[in-house]
């Protein structure tokens, strides 16, 4: 659905920006106009002093964070004022890890989108926080020895996740120290089950478990406070605001059984063994058949002179092994999925074939300024293959190759599947400077990627890029209703030029609570601007899920090279209440 795709895009871009947040920026379209954001941070109505409030760039796939994080500290009354803000789309985040957002289902920080389009002052960006609680305790084994560097997780008893399963709060990042002691702070008030060790059911977490055991760490079967592996028997810990609950101790028992997997990798045509091949392991999960790869890891082994390989320390689960993509090896191959249940597995076979080869050229459409062309040639082409069928989903493989001086490129050793090509900058300051308008294969557009089979030699690929220096600046006028707090509003550009790929990310941005938005790094062209408001997710246990239909509006907008296009859009908040809508 449109909604999930946008959310997916949102989340993907969000994670990219967070990790790339240390790049240098040359904000091309911004002038330092000195926008100002003010507000107040309070807890139960009382101002919180000394809290740092920061701005993070909210540019989706656009340019990365500048070096100087814009920030300010609250005064004795909880007021803050951030000044000298360049034009841009931001998230305002108070850094107060001891506090949490009221009603939050997990440890989280508050943030709010604010768009600065000129020398405006945006006031009343307030945050109301509550002190989080602390849960602390000690994890030991049956002999009283401390269990060290195991991660502790909280399961909310009050709230469930989207699928109605247990809502995991704070997975992975809270670990016991050398005394076995852990301490989790900023916990929203509520009821929790505290556990350590591998979760059998949650597919993502069991992936994490496989990772650590294969890397040689012992993993315990999930054990809840105080000492049970049965979650229905787990003691419930009640956390009140600002309170510390101590002695939430856990005694662990058995470690997860681990087994070995052995097999061979052969050339599929000659059946000759292939030595020195590195592998990746895909962990399969998702639903009854567990066909989807939910995790991927490179294995610390290579095949020996007889093409044989051996992986140790694999916990029970369903897996497959593939040839890892590596420079110099053009082979690709994947085993059948296999189950590790309660004994070693042997005879896993990989038949490897020459991978597919994709070659082509990157061209620039529009402004042919040699400086801009030179910048484009510094990019690399990333080929991501989402293998359909078994092992698809999360388990894609990606390779990146540089461009030759004439813009040509070649990627080899690709598995069969659907190849998606993107441009990756070598230098963070060029992030978002170009957008791909379309990808052609021998003149025909490939909006859904390029289908390849192993051994294919695909040529004639053209990646058509444009310099993305335009901006769309706009205001959304809300009608027929008021905006509920916590509503996320996204403005997105989709190409209205016939034949442009629907999947191309031509620009998206948050709309703030005043209705302002700023989409930067837009290539020149004609677009449909789509504004969508989503209600927040999550629900209390035992409540019926409320279907929330997103509210949308559309508008045409034309963007010229290097120009700012202004647009106003009306969003009818009552559109789904009308009798004509089912």
């Amino acid at each position: 659905m449109l909604r999930s795709r946008i959310l997916g895009l949102f989340l993907l871009s969000l994670s990219i920006f967070t990790i790339d947040s240390f790049g240098q920026s040359t904000v091309k379209t911004a002038n330092k106009t000195g926008g100002v954001i003010t507000g107040r941070i309070t807890a139960h109505g009382k101002g919180l002093a000394g809290v740092t409030v920061t701005l993070h760039s909210a540019n989706f796939g656009g340019q990365a964070q500048s070096q100087d994080l814009l920030q300010a500290k609250t005064d004795a009354d909880g007021n803050y004022r951030i000044t000298d803000i360049p034009i841009g789309s931001y998230f305002v985040t108070p850094i107060a890890p001891v506090y949490t957002v009221p009603g939050a289902g997990r440890l989280t920080s508050a943030n709010e989108a604010v768009v600065i389009t000129g020398g405006d002052t945006v006031s009343d960006i307030d945050f109301s926080l509550v002190p989080g609680g602390v849960i602390t305790g000690r994890v030991t084994d049956t002999e009283g020895r401390p269990v060290i560097e195991q991660s502790v997780s909280l399961q909310s008893v009050d709230q469930t996740n989207q699928q109605g399963g247990p809502r995991i709060v704070a997975p992975g990042s809270w670990r016991t120290d050398d005394r076995g002691v852990y301490r989790i702070y900023g916990v929203p008030e509520g009821h929790y089950k505290v556990s350590v060790g591998a979760q059998q059911r949650m597919s993502g977490y069991s992936g994490m478990n496989a990772y650590s055991t294969i890397m040689g760490q012992k993993s315990y079967i999930q054990t809840f406070h105080p000492d049970t592996t049965d979650s229905t028997q787990a003691a419930i810990v009640e956390v009140a605001e600002g309170a510390e609950v101590s002695n939430v101790d856990i005694t662990v028992g058995r470690t997860v059984e681990e087994y070995s997997v052995t097999g061979r990798v052969l050339d599929s045509s000659s059946n000759a063994p292939l030595p020195n091949i590195p592998f990746t392991l895909s962990i399969l999960g998702g639903g009854v058949n567990r066909q989807r790869a939910i995790g991927l890891m490179a294995l610390p082994i290579v095949s020996d002179s007889a093409g044989a390989f051996r992986v140790d320390n694999i916990p029970p689960g369903r897996y497959l092994v593939s040839v890892a993509p590596q420079s110099g090896t053009n082979m690709w191959g994947q085993s059948q999925p296999f189950d590790v249940i309660n004994q070693d597995v042997s005879g896993v076979e990989i038949k490897a074939t020459i991978g597919a080869n994709v070659s082509g050229v990157v061209t620039l459409e529009g402004n042919q300024d040699p400086t801009i062309l030179a910048e484009l040639m510094q990019f690399q082409v990333e080929a991501f293959v989402q293998s359909g069928g078994v092992g698809g989903g999360f388990g894609g493989t990606a390779q990146t190759v540089p461009l030759n001086t004439d813009g040509t490129f070649q990627v080899s050793g690709l598995p069969s599947g659907n190849v998606r090509l993107t441009l990756m900058p070598q230098d963070n300051s060029l992030q978002g400077a170009f957008k791909i308008l379309r990808i052609e294969r021998d003149g025909t557009q490939q909006p859904r990627g390029i289908a390849v089979n192993s051994g294919d030699q695909v040529t004639g690929i053209r990646i058509v890029a444009a310099y993305a220096d335009g901006t769309v600046e706009g205001i959304v006028k809300f009608q027929n209703g008021t905006l509920a707090p916590g509503t996320r509003i996204i403005a997105r550009l989709s190409s209205s030029t016939p034949g442009q790929g629907r999947g191309a990310n031509l620009g998206a941005a948050n709309v703030d609570q005043r209705g302002h938005f700023l989409i930067q790094n837009v290539p020149p062209g004609s677009y449909n601007l789509i504004v969508t408001a989503f209600a927040q997710g999550g629900r209390r246990r035992n409540q019926q899920p409320q279907p929330q239909t997103p509210v949308t509006a559309q508008q045409q907008v034309n963007v010229s090279e290097g120009q700012v296009a202004s647009v106003t859009v009306s969003l009818d908040l009552g559109q789904n209440n009308s009798p004509t809508n089912p």
């Binding site: 947040s21 920061t54 994490m208 995790g295 610390p300």
Partner: protein, 630 residues
């Protein structure tokens, strides 16, 4: 083409690499399972495994230890194996080769190595290894701000500046975040002297990397300990651009030093955080060679000037650009290393940088290709009766080592010390490749576990030195160079081919003890010399041996070429040890002549026959001629 590894894997690789750096000479005992005489190629059960146990100093199993075995010259990362409840481990399915084995366990460390140890221990299949670990030390305290409020979720780092022996340490740092009370706890510290700091970037920064594959939210590398759930970690980002504040509230120059003994817990190392913005140091890495074709990864290191072990942080540059944030005023050195595949690397000479109130941009680090030496090992079996049926060394189990020789007073030691040695094992066909060597003059050594074999010669015949420009250079006189004597001179980009290590069968072994009368204690720490006695052999440097006697007066020399020798002793005092180390160098000519003269005068000759084992030699003390004062 490059490969996206999941960031947790990268973290594990970095962790493993750091573990290796610390583990260079841990307390490891190898018990070879071949029988004492090395006779007859017995096929052992489990002959493709390395087994062992990880224990504490009181022989208790270490809980949750992970053992890593790494095959020399292998392209794959170290292979991890967990230990069982009794601390036992087994690596099965190994092919012959030379392996290093180390272990890691949460909050445990390998005991600091003895600086006099000869070399890290190497193992072969069939070996059994006992690894002893000790509890690491702990440093804890709290971090407060100017208003005495706790600083929450700030990264605290302990950096070792000197190890337990007072030597400059190799830049290993441990990091964790403070909790809601501003309290931090750093554990698993090796004994040594540390400086503790809060704030500033992590030592494990990956610029321009994306977490692809891998698990869970975020996927940031490094910096363990309690932190935020959810995407990214805004709290630590808050302090990442700051110059670190050192305990108690200082810059690096006036930082308090904290001494940590094995298993110690040092409390109240408190820091009053100064919240000072650091500066940025940035630039790009360029290659002086033909440039990088295909996938290449560069690591740029910023370290404190004149303290090359004190690494502030690494940045892995994606492509060519790098940036370090949170750099305090001071003097630094920048160097870059670019890896192209497993056997090729380029490095830049260290670049001195002074930060004084401003960002520094536009630094270009130019890398030059490191050199390599290749050739083969040849085996010359013997037909003599006494040498019948003796075990041959396996090519993959022969350790070859090239080490840069330091001339007295030269500056060589300071230039790229980490590339001044290379080790390797030949492939199954006897061919070897030693790579990643910095310019300099190199000498060679071998180690192999075949009792009846000796190193007869190291030669370079018809030298085909390839210049960096790729032209073949043939010397006018196609002769055989005695590399054991002259070494090989390398420049940036040298590719020297055709080096031959000739191993011959027929070695003798000499075991014995210093001859003392009934109640006398043997003199402590003597040198025992075995020097060439045959006059017409010229100066074959491979016929000179020296070893130190043990506390009980016993000594062993093995893999000795058969022939006639003088055997004599010298007391092991400081002035002698330099001379002993020059025994096989051209500079030691005078010393060798003296030894031969003393041997002749004392008439202490010894003839060793091919494949002879002398087990009970009584070594007479020489009336050691006092050294003429210099």
């Amino acid at each position: 083409m490059n490969v996206k590894f999941s960031l947790p894997t990268l973290k594990a690789l970095i962790l493993a690499a750091i573990v290796f750096a610390v583990a260079l000479s841990g307390t490891v005992l190898a018990q070879t399972t071949e029988d004492q005489n090395g006779d007859a190629a017995a096929s052992k059960p489990n002959s493709s495994s390395i087994t062992g146990r990880v224990v504490t100093q009181t022989s208790q199993p270490v809980t949750n230890a992970t053992v890593y075995v790494s095959r020399m010259n292998s392209t794959s990362p170290p292979r991890p194996i967990p230990t069982d409840a009794d601390g036992q481990f087994k690596f099965a399915g190994l092919e012959p080769g030379i392996f290093s084995v180390t272990a890691s366990a949460p909050s445990y460390i390998l005991p600091p190595g003895n600086p006099n140890a000869v070399a890290p221990n190497y193992y072969r299949i069939g070996d059994s290894v006992t690894i002893t670990m000790i509890k690491g030390g702990v440093i804890n305290g709290h971090v407060t701000d100017a208003e005495d409020k706790p600083v929450v979720a700030v990264r605290v780092r302990a950096l070792m500046v000197r190890d337990a022996y007072g030597q400059a340490a190799s830049g290993v740092a441990t990091e964790r975040l403070t909790d809601d009370r501003g309290v931090y706890r750093l554990y698993g510290l090796a004994p040594g002297t540390y400086v503790v700091s809060a704030g500033g970037p992590s030592a494990f920064s990956v610029v321009g990397g994306t977490a692809f594959g891998g698990f869970g939210p975020g996927g940031r590398a490094g910096g363990g300990g309690g932190g935020f759930g959810g995407f990214g970690n805004p709290s630590t980002a808050l302090y990442d651009r700051d110059a670190p504040t050192f305990a108690p509230s200082s810059t690096r120059d006036t930082a308090m030093e904290v001494s940590v003994g094995a298993g110690d817990e040092v409390n109240d190392v408190n820091i009053k955080y100064r919240s000072e913005r650091g500066h940025a140091v940035s630039g790009a890495v360029k290659s002086a060679g033909q440039g990088m074709s295909g996938y290449a990864r560069s690591v740029v290191t910023l370290s404190r000037a004149n303290h090359e072990g004190e690494v502030i942080s690494f940045v892995t540059a994606r492509g060519a650009a790098f940036v370090f944030y949170g750099v305090a005023n001071g003097e630094y050195e920048l160097s870059a290393e670019t890896t192209l595949g497993t056997d090729n690397a380029e490095v830049s000479a260290p670049r001195h940088v002074i930060v004084n109130g401003n960002n520094i941009t536009g630094i270009t680090l130019t890398t030059n290709p490191l050199a390599s030496i290749s050739g083969r090992v040849t085996l010359e079996p013997s037909r003599i009766e006494q040498c019948k049926d003796k075990r041959q060394p396996r090519f993959e189990e022969i350790l070859l080592e090239a080490t840069r020789s330091m001339k007295k007073g030269s500056q060589d030691a300071l230039v790229l010390p980490q590339f001044s040695t290379a080790k390797g094992a030949p492939a199954r066909n006897g061919e070897f490749l030693l790579t990643k060597l910095a310019p300099g003059q190199y000498r060679f050594d071998t180690r192999f576990n075949a009792k009846y074999w000796y190193l007869r010669a190291i030669t370079l015949s018809s030298p085909k030195a390839v210049t960096p420009a790729g032209k073949l250079q043939q010397t006018t006189a196609a002769q055989t160079i005695d590399v054991a004597r002259s070494g090989i001179v390398l420049k940036f980009g040298s590719r020297v081919a055709g080096v031959n290590f000739a191993l011959a069968e027929g070695a003798a072994t000499l075991r014995g003890r210093v001859a003392v009368s009934e109640n006398e204690k043997p003199p402590q720490r003597l040198f025992a010399y075995l020097v060439l006695a045959e006059k017409d052999q010229g100066e074959n440097l491979l016929r000179y041996f020296v070893t130190t006697t043990n506390d009980d007066g016993s000594f062993t020399l093995d893999n000795i070429p058969p022939g006639l020798y003088w055997i004599l002793t010298r007391s092991n005092v400081e002035s002698e040890s330099t001379l002993a180390s020059q025994l096989r160098l051209p500079e030691g000519a005078e010393e060798r002549a003296k030894l031969r003269h003393d041997g002749e005068a004392a008439k202490s000759s010894l003839e060793l026959k091919p494949c002879q084992n002398v087990n009970d030699y009584q070594l007479q003390l020489n009336a050691a001629s006092p050294r003429a004062s210099q």
